[in-house]
């Protein structure tokens, strides 16, 4: 039995907001794969629960008339990966979604939980960062939207005010039309693992040059990180080996991998450098540019 002190089930987002506002100690629980693990180890910060497991309005994936893809925070990773809207338009997110945990975890764990727990290793984060995803939160004061990279504030820290619920992630058509992408999770096992390094790349091609390039990493700093400086340097370059060298030579400047018992800093740097080249190469290939 879990050490739960209070439990309230919400059927709607507004109910959830009201319940969270009433009890500042309460945390939302959706898929449970994070909160219940913490309760298993008797973590006292999770003893008051607002259950949003069955809030139907958080489980939709839709495309708005302007092409914006809207993914409800309560969508689980299996449904996400199987959604035609997602798999056709933003397959890089499918790669992230299908690399999380194992099948049973993906069947219940939600994209909202993966992002809002602030883990630097979230497999959905690097793909969402290269898709320029925005998140939408709803609280007692109403809605607000912000880019995902601003949502992350530090390890385990996100810009979610008390009483707020993340409602959805939004990806604008200008961030996926013409873009190709790739995500690679580097971990110690082929499944049921947390990333040692996660790397996502996206690119857009104009002739023989990159018209747009985005790179993001997980576990390469206190939060999932975009590689802004590298992207700026690479913008407009000819899509060839020189570009790959430039990227792999520059990418560490954007990141802050650290030593931990899970992996050393220099090992992570080796993987980051290698993945930056390989993942971008694959993303370019998917946009019709093969670099041998």
């Amino acid at each position: 039995m879990f050490d739960i002190d209070s439990y309230h089930k919400a059927d709607t987002v507004d109910e959830a907001i009201a319940l969270l506002s009433q009890n500042p100690d309460a945390v939302p629980i959706a898929g449970g794969t994070d909160v219940l693990v913490r309760l298993h180890s008797h973590n006292p910060d999770y003893r008051h629960l607002v259950d949003i497991h069955d809030v139907a309005e958080l489980k939709n994936i839709t495309m708005e008339p302007d092409g914006t893809i809207v993914i409800g925070s309560g969508v689980n990773f299996t449904d996400l990966a199987q959604s035609p809207i997602v798999s056709v338009n933003i397959p890089v997110l499918v790669e992230g979604a299908s690399s999380i945990g194992g099948p049973q975890v993906r069947n219940v764990a939600t994209i909202g939980g993966n992002i809002s727990n602030g883990a630097p290793s979230a497999d959905a984060a690097p793909p969402l960062l290269v898709l320029n995803a925005h998140i939408e939160l709803k609280g007692p004061e109403g809605f607000r939207r912000l880019p995902l990279h601003q949502f992350y504030q530090g390890p385990g820290l996100v810009d979610r005010n008390s009483g707020e619920i993340m409602t959805c992630l939004r990806i604008s058509s200008t961030d996926y039309k013409g873009w190709s992408g790739h995500y690679c999770k580097y971990a110690m096992r082929g499944a049921m693992d947390i990333a040692t390094i996660g790397c996502a790349a996206a690119c857009k091609i104009d002739g023989d040059r990159v018209a747009g390039i985005r790179l993001a990493f997980g576990v390469a700093g206190p939060t999932p990180l975009r590689c802004w400086r590298t992207e700026e340097k690479a913008q407009g370059s000819v899509a060839d080996q020189t570009l790959l060298d430039l990227v792999s030579g520059s990418v560490l400047g954007d990141l802050r991998p650290r030593n931990s018992w899970r992996a050393s800093k220099d090992f992570r740097e080796q993987i980051i450098t290698t993945l930056s080249e390989r993942v971008l190469k694959e993303a370019l290939k998917r946009n019709g540019v093969s670099i041998s």
């Binding site: 259950d51 194992g102 049973q104 049921m192």
Partner: protein, 157 residues
Amino acid sequence: MNRNISCTVNSKSMTWQIDIRMSLADLLRQHGFTSVKEGCGVGECGACAVLIDDVAVDSCLYLAVWADGRNIRTTEGESKEGKLSPVQQAYLDTGSVQCGFCTPGLIMASTSFVEQHKGQKVSREQIRKGLAGNLCRCTGYDGIVRAVEQCIDAEKK
């Protein structure tokens, strides 16, 4: 902390008073569905996997209260009138059972995979990916992959 829930387990309707602090694994085991094993309690081993509305879920990381209104399948319900399910039979044919502790969870994960891939051509890689949430320490998984392959091939025929 108590609540009433209604669900079906292996096609049988149940109404249970539960403590909201229970996991589904706790609840099922309490009611005699002891095929549901606990190997880790945190979704890292898959020994407690059951099907909820035909989707494989680790019941240790699933609140019992969420079972309300849902259909649950455990390994006990897979054999009917003394006849093993194709997946259960395939596990025996391929020698995929040793200590048997991971077996019920693996059988449910395999059953869900086989049902979802009826009539399809699947690779061993896909089978592996589909069963990657279940640890087995005895068999090296070799027979398990062949058991699932055998079930899918039989479905095609």
